[in-house]
């Protein structure tokens, strides 16, 4: 190959994803990245934990959609975090369910996410545990060290903290813009841009 790009820390895909070479992605065929997503080193995504029971509609001839982890655009997975699809007993058999992340989701370092669904513009701090089948709606901030219990639903514009996590505040109207991760996306990668003042 004549035009081989220099080997950087990240693999940058056509859709703008920046995946660290040192990240551990298991079962990549079951992981969907929306684009412009940053996956830092030591991140683990468990795509191998796909659902074992085919969903009802795929049994009737449709293409089997076996996505285990779906991630939207401009997500940022910090160092050492883990995305793991939740699992439960369903009709007497244990099965995993897909884990869905929306757009502009920040996942802090050392955080374990086992949620069923995380909305858009969500900030999850470091060393957080998101329990199985938790649902986090849009514009939510989970402070560092929180433990979100399984099955918890966090409505939009909430600030959540504690062990177990509870809603401790509201995102003010003016705090919405701070969830944008476009600028953060540019600061990492093989040729990172300096942060704008």
């Amino acid at each position: 190959m004549s035009r081989r790009p220099p080997r950087g820390e990240y693999i940058e895909t056509d859709t703008g994803n920046k995946v660290a070479r040192k990240a551990t992605l298991v079962g990549t065929q079951n992981i969907m990245l929306g684009g412009k997503t940053v996956i830092q080193p030591d991140v683990m995504i468990r795509g191998d934990l796909a659902r074992t029971i085919p969903p009802a509609q795929s049994a009737s001839g449709g293409p089997a959609n076996n996505t285990a982890v779906a991630i939207g655009r401009y997500c940022f997975l910090s160092r050492g975090c883990c995305l793991r699809p939740p699992g439960r007993m369903y009709k007497g058999v244990f099965t995993f369910m897909p884990l869905r992340l929306g757009d502009h989701v920040f996942v802090g370092p050392g955080t374990v996410v086992q949620a069923a669904q995380i909305g858009n513009h969500v900030h999850i701090g470091g060393k957080v545990v998101i329990g199985e089948f938790a649902i986090i709606k849009d514009y939510v901030k989970v402070l560092d060290g929180s433990v979100v219990p399984p099955n918890m639903v966090i409505p939009s514009f909430s600030i959540v903290a504690g062990q177990p996590a509870r809603i401790i505040g509201e995102i003010p109207e003016g705090g919405i813009e701070a969830f944008e991760l476009r600028d953060l996306y540019k600061t990492v990668g093989n040729n990172p841009q300096p942060t704008a003042p």
Partner: protein
């Protein structure tokens, strides 16, 4: 951490170190909540729980790193003629207040300041008054109510009838506040049935429980199981702890009738049935008994007193909501001597007090021996401290009022009798300006949408100020070796870069002022090197890019453009160019300045819509001052260097058309020519620069 009741500036994680300082729950504050209800370490209920992560694991440093902040003071705290806060504000008082305002600088450490300082994102802006509005001064209106768990909207008529809690199946754990899930439990199959051939059918006879997946609490602990998985709220309302069903209103009435027919319901009889009822008397029954007792008395008194009155109509008029009966009851309890009411005097002794449980009499059970034995039993059986079996204050506070509970003296004290908590509803609220009543913020009424119809936030009108310590290699003296990072050395000049970013589409002229020394116990000398400057307008990024391309068609910029013309390229492209333009637009002065250090009267750096200047501070020595002034040791957060700064911004805005319209307030600032209008806005803000080291 961050003392006061203020919020540390919130920037969702740009770097790891930054994320870490937003961690401290104790520093978090939001309008309406003074102390965040975080689980405390000493909470006995939490001690029982397995805590996967302790705070010690989370933070290897005892103190979270300092995050510089800017808080803006809302003008609502000033005494002004528009808000008539104090009735004794005379013209004299006002003029004195105005004078005071001019003479004194704003003291961020004053106790009152806590209530007027806000991070920029918490502030709104009224376009009609041209003034900053804070959560404390805006008027809120509820747009809709919804359950935070099931996200169903609750109509306000239901709130009035059902209360402010979710009446579906949304419950919180009474022990740990986590969400409860409805789970199917299969009753252990009967050994006799196991032998029978059709034991498969018996497995369906299971029931449902509420269980917490965080602390493993289950409603079986209070002896409650449900027959169906839906409408748990209704089912739970009927069940007492232990699984006993509560009497419905109808059943209670029937029971009373039964009793009346049996023995007249008199207080003298001490039969077996009487005792039974006494123990069953919960708050609801007691109230119902009392109500019927008094209603009977009222109707009796009225029926005999009134001449020719229809007894049934009198009964109907004498519900407890009738004002006449209410006044009668008031006079009954206040006594005839205090109220010279003819009615009460004319009818003394027509009413008697309840004498029996059937009339609503509930004797206070002051016998605590059962509670004491329960405590002792707990200690002997589990070997744990009996204290851990009692409910904490927060647990009791979060309990929903339950009418089926035994009244007054029988309130629960043990965690073993706490009931599941139905979720409190949450609201979406719109905000109004307190003066002109215009709407400042209005969310969409649908629960699941996050859009706003109106959202006038201060961040779109006034410049944001970011703070960074200025360290120039070679010029800034190296910090002392054993100093924690991000601390300021006392008695030595430290320089900070303040970056002002302009959000509006007009260029803005900024004038800054600070007191020469900061007010408070530890005065620091402050110098703003460039107190007057301009910030360019927040123009469209593409417009800017094209303009520059025409002016200087250098190859580097062309490259920049081409690199940015990908999909989604417009946003990043413009910003990137702002970065590359930095040295060019700043001119020679800035370039030279970077080598020489900051110069007085010169802007430090500037970009598309931002300008940064340098501020120099010489903090006082904390230790020496504390020794000298004899006001005791340095208190928490007194080492934070806070600088009050007065910001005045001026710009020329295009006069909006609606201002010419009749019925609206006259134009502010006048001077209208060619549709342009001079505007200005001035406010105090506080810069939290950093912690001063406790050396020297």
């Amino acid at each position: 951490m961050f003392g006061n009741n203020r919020l540390p500036a919130f920037h969702p994680g740009l770097t790891q170190s930054r994320i870490r300082d937003t961690t401290t729950g104790s520093g978090l504050w939001f309008p309406g909540l003074r102390s965040p209800p975080l689980p405390s370490e000493s909470d006995p209920a939490n001690d029982q729980l397995p805590l996967p992560i302790t705070p010690e694991d989370l933070y290897d440093t005892p103190m979270a790193p300092f995050n510089p902040y800017t808080y803006i003071r809302c003008p609502c705290s000033e005494l002004n003629p528009y808000t008539k806060r104090t009735p004794d504000v005379t013209a004299q008082g006002l003029s004195r207040a105005a004078q005071d305002d001019d003479d004194h600088t704003f003291d961020p450490r004053a106790a009152r300041s806590n209530y007027s300082l806000y991070p920029l994102e918490y502030l709104s802006f009224c376009e009609d008054c041209h003034q900053i509005r804070c959560p404390r001064c805006v008027a809120e209106e509820i747009v809709c109510y919804y359950c935070p768990n099931c996200l169903f909207e609750v109509p306000s008529s239901n709130i009035r009838s059902e209360g402010s809690r979710c009446t579906r199946s949304c419950f919180q754990c009474p022990i740990c506040i986590g969400p409860l899930a409805v789970n199917h439990v299969e009753t252990p199959p009967d050994p006799n049935q196991l032998l029978s051939p059709d034991h498969a059918s018996s497995s369906h006879s299971g029931s449902y429980v509420l269980s917490c997946s965080y602390c493993n609490w289950s409603s079986t602990e209070i002896g409650i199981k449900f027959d169906k998985p839906n409408s748990i709220h209704m089912q739970l309302a009927k069940l007492r702890n232990g699984g006993e069903t509560r009497l419905t209103a109808k059943e209670r009435k029937e029971r009373r009738k039964e009793q009346a027919s049996q023995g007249g319901g008199g207080g003298s009889s001490t039969g077996q049935g009487e005792e039974d009822l006494d123990t069953l008397l919960d708050m609801e029954t007691q109230f119902a008994n009392l109500k019927s007792f008094y209603q009977n008395q009222l109707s009796d008194a009225n029926g005999t007193g009134k001449v020719g009155g229809d007894p049934s109509a009198a009964l109907g008029n004498l519900g407890f909501d009738a004002p006449a009966s209410l006044s009668r009851i008031m006079s009954l309890y206040t006594g005839s001597s205090s109220l010279h009411d003819k009615k009460s005097k004319s009818r003394p002794g027509t009413m008697r007090e309840a004498l029996a449980p059937s009339e609503g009499l509930q004797l206070a059970s002051l016998d605590e021996s059962s509670a004491i034995t329960a405590l002792q039993d707990f200690e002997s059986t589990t070997g744990l401290d009996a204290y851990s079996s009692t409910a904490s204050t927060t647990q009791l506070q979060s309990q929903a009022p339950y009418l089926g509970a035994s009244p007054l003296h029988g309130l629960t004290r043990f965690t073993s009798s706490l009931r599941p908590i139905p979720y409190l509803l949450r609201t979406k609220r719109s905000k109004r300006c307190p003066q002109c009543r215009h709407i400042i913020s209005k969310p969409e009424s649908k629960v699941t949408t996050t859009r706003f119809r109106i959202r006038l936030i201060a961040g779109n009108y006034i410049p944001t100020i970011t703070i960074k310590q200025l360290i120039i290699p070679g010029l800034t003296p190296p910090p002392m070796p054993n100093l924690p990072p991000d601390t300021i050395e006392p008695l030595k000049p430290a320089q900070f870069v303040l970056t002002f970013k302009n959000p509006i589409f007009e260029s803005v002229r900024v004038t800054l002022a600070t007191p020469a020394t900061t007010p408070g116990r530890f005065p620091a000398k402050v110098t703003i090197l460039c107190p007057q400057f301009e910030i360019d307008s927040n123009t469209d990024v593409w417009e800017e890019a094209l303009k520059d391309n025409n002016a200087t068609s250098s190859s580097s910029q062309a490259q920049n453009l081409s690199s940015s013309t990908g999909p989604e390229g417009s946003g990043p492209g413009g910003r990137k160019r702002a970065g590359t333009l930095r040295p060019g637009t700043a001119g020679g002065a800035s370039l030279a300045g970077e080598e020489l250090g900051p110069e007085v009267g010169k802007v430090w750096e500037r970009g598309r819509n931002w300008t940064s200047i340098v501020i120099e501070v010489i903090p006082a020595s904390l230790v020496q001052t504390a020794k000298r002034d004899g006001r005791g040791p340095i208190k928490e957060d007194e080492d934070v260097l806070e600088i009050p700064m007065f910001v005045r911004i001026e710009w020329e805005a295009e006069a909006p058309e609606d201002e010419i319209m009749p019925g609206l307030s006259s134009t502010k600032g006048g001077n209208k020519d060619g549709g342009k209008e001079k505007r200005e806005l001035a406010y105090w803000c506080v810069l939290g620069l950093g912690r001063v080291a406790r050396t020297l």
